[in-house]
Every structure is written in structure tokens, then in C-alpha cells.
Point group: C2
DNA sequence: ATAAAATGTTACACTTTCCGTAACAATTAA
DNA sequence: TTAATTGTTACGGAAAGTGTAACATTTTAT
């Protein structure tokens, strides 16, 4: 799945969980609501769970619930949770010679250059909260800290 | 070819053309020097030619030459020449219903959001000239306006 | 004129990656 | 005990990427 699709799917799922808080929602519930495949959704959601954005419970009436206030979740955090790759990924030619040939030097330089751009993107994404997204989409969050079950 | 690979390959080619200015270099010369495939290189270079960064001539002793001072070529310009896609491309789920369903509204919003990020990236890339790249890589440019053949 | 060399473009087979689905062990609650 | 759910892996078809080849067109040298 492309990085941006992972991100947009994750955001949709988080919005849905915020909307239906504090009821746990199964991957099937979520996929019925936001589209996509339940199994692939679980892959995304398990990554969000590892990063403390949602929590999961198994068994009957299990599912996923939000564990963080939408105002405190930012796009960058969601992106990093579901995608290893940098947003502005550099795909360079592989060097065929030794480690200090011209191609390698060029690639090293380019990696630095792209790292700068990457920082810009991450800073920008850090400024966008899930709450602001929900506001724009007129989705009402029912999230409430006190209702989040402890670990 | 991935967008970033097109970009880095293009930059390498431009550096080589600046270095060997004003001698036209064939796609074969360039691929021998910077690696990659001559045919694929021609595809990139023909796009750079359409955007006025290089010019091409056919026939014996033909090839590509730089037509713009490295200090006046910027990464953003090179990127746009060889890649239609935005740098931070959004790959959204396709809507299956009518044009005003929830998925569509969500996607429209996301496109706006990513457009903002896109502007940041382009601004950042606009600040990086080919000349500065060549300086960092200690490549000497031999580019000289007066030696560029007229149309 | 002719031949040689180069671009610009298209096509193609091969490989890699993507994607939806299925499967199943582990876990949990009724 | 049973049913429902997560978490993870596997897989086959679809899509996209990659390197190469082919060839008409253009241009220059002889």
C-alpha cells in the first residue's frame, strides 16, 4: 500500500474511532464504514496500537478504541506509525564500484539534500492535528480521557 | 522510474553536461559517465530539452548540451521537467458512490492538505541550484552563455 | 548523393511490487 | 465451551517498474 494511502486510511479509521468512542470497533465495523479490506486494516491498526494511538482487545465485543485525544495526535505521528519510509524517499542508483567512487559520493550528497526536504515535510505534518482534520470534516469527536481503559 | 531517481539521474546528467560544455555529449557518452541506460536517458533528456534546460542536435557529432547557467537551474525546475506527479503524491481510495459521498469529501479535503505540503517542498527545492550542487561536489562548470548555439 | 550517427519514441519481455483475500493460531469474553 | 476478534503470514493475480531493442527521422561529414 502506498505511503499516502496508508496515511489517509489511518486517518479515516482514527476519525471513525473518535466518532464512535468509547465503543470498541472491530476491523470489520471499520472497513464497513470507511471502505477497504478488514485484514489490511488490522495491519494498519496494529501498527497504530504499537505507537499508542489506539488499543486493541480480542474476543467477543473486542476491537479497537482510540487512546489519545485527537488534538494530541498529529499527521507526522500517524505517518511514522504506519510507514517506515521517509515521506520524500530517495531512490538512487546503486553503486557498482567501491564505496568512494563518484556515484557513491553523489548519492551520499543527495541523501543529505533530501533529508533536509524531509525535515520540512515532517515539520509541516506535525502542525496538523487529527482534531483539526475532524473539525474541517465536521466530524464530532466523543473522545474522553477518563473512559480509556488502563493497560 | 521513480520520481527521485529521475531527479537524481537528471542532475547527474546536467552536471556532466556542465563539466563538458560546450561539447555536445551523446546519450551513450552520458550513460558511460553517470551510469544507467542510454535509451532511458534520452527519455529524460528530451524532457529537459522541452523545458529549455538542455538542447539536442541529431546527426554525427550531435548530442546534448546545456543551455542554461547552472546557477539559474533549480531542483524544482528539474523535478517538474521530468515528473508530472507532485513530489508528495496523494494516492487516495477511489470513491465507489456518487460524487458527494463521505469518501469523496474526505479525499477532497486530503488533497488540499497535501497540496499545502507540496508547496513547502517546491519552495524548498526552488532554493537549491544546480550550481550549489556542483560546488558541493567540487565539479567545475565550463558553462558559458556565449557559446550556446541559437535556436 | 550516400552513409553514418544521433535523437525521439514505441514496444516488449522480465522482474518486482502491490493488493485483496484467505487462512489460522492465539486470545478473550459471554 | 464456544464464538468472536486480533495479529500475522501466505498466496495468486494485477499492476507498475526496468532494461533493452527497434526503427523512423534528422543531421552532418565525406
Amino acid at each position: 500500500m502506498s505511503a499516502s494511502k496508508k496515511l489517509s486510511t489511518s486517518v479515516k479509521a482514527i476519525c471513525y474511532l473518535a466518532e464512535s468512542f468509547p465503543n470498541p470497533k472491530s476491523s470489520k465495523d471499520i472497513s464497513d464504514n470507511i471502505g477497504g479490506n478488514a485484514s489490511k486494516l488490522r495491519q494498519l491498526l496494529s501498527m497504530l496500537a504499537k505507537n499508542g494511538i489506539v488499543s486493541s482487545s480480542q474476543g467477543i465485543n473486542g476491537g479497537f478504541i482510540l487512546t489519545k485525544h485527537p488534538g494530541k495526535i498529529h499527521l507526522q505521528e500517524v505517518y511514522c506509525s504506519v510507514e517506515d519510509r521517509k515521506a520524500f524517499h530517495l531512490d538512487v542508483n546503486h553503486s557498482h564500484g567501491d564505496s568512494k567512487d563518484r556515484t557513491s559520493i553523489f548519492n551520499d550528497y543527495f541523501l543529505d539534500l533530501f533529508a533536509d526536504v524531509q525535515v520540512e515535510i515532517e515539520d509541516k505534518m506535525r502542525l496538523i492535528s487529527l482534531q483539526s482534520i475532524m473539525n474541517n470534516l465536521k466530524i464530532k469527536s466523543k473522545y474522553n480521557d477518563r473512559l480509556v481503559p488502563k493497560e
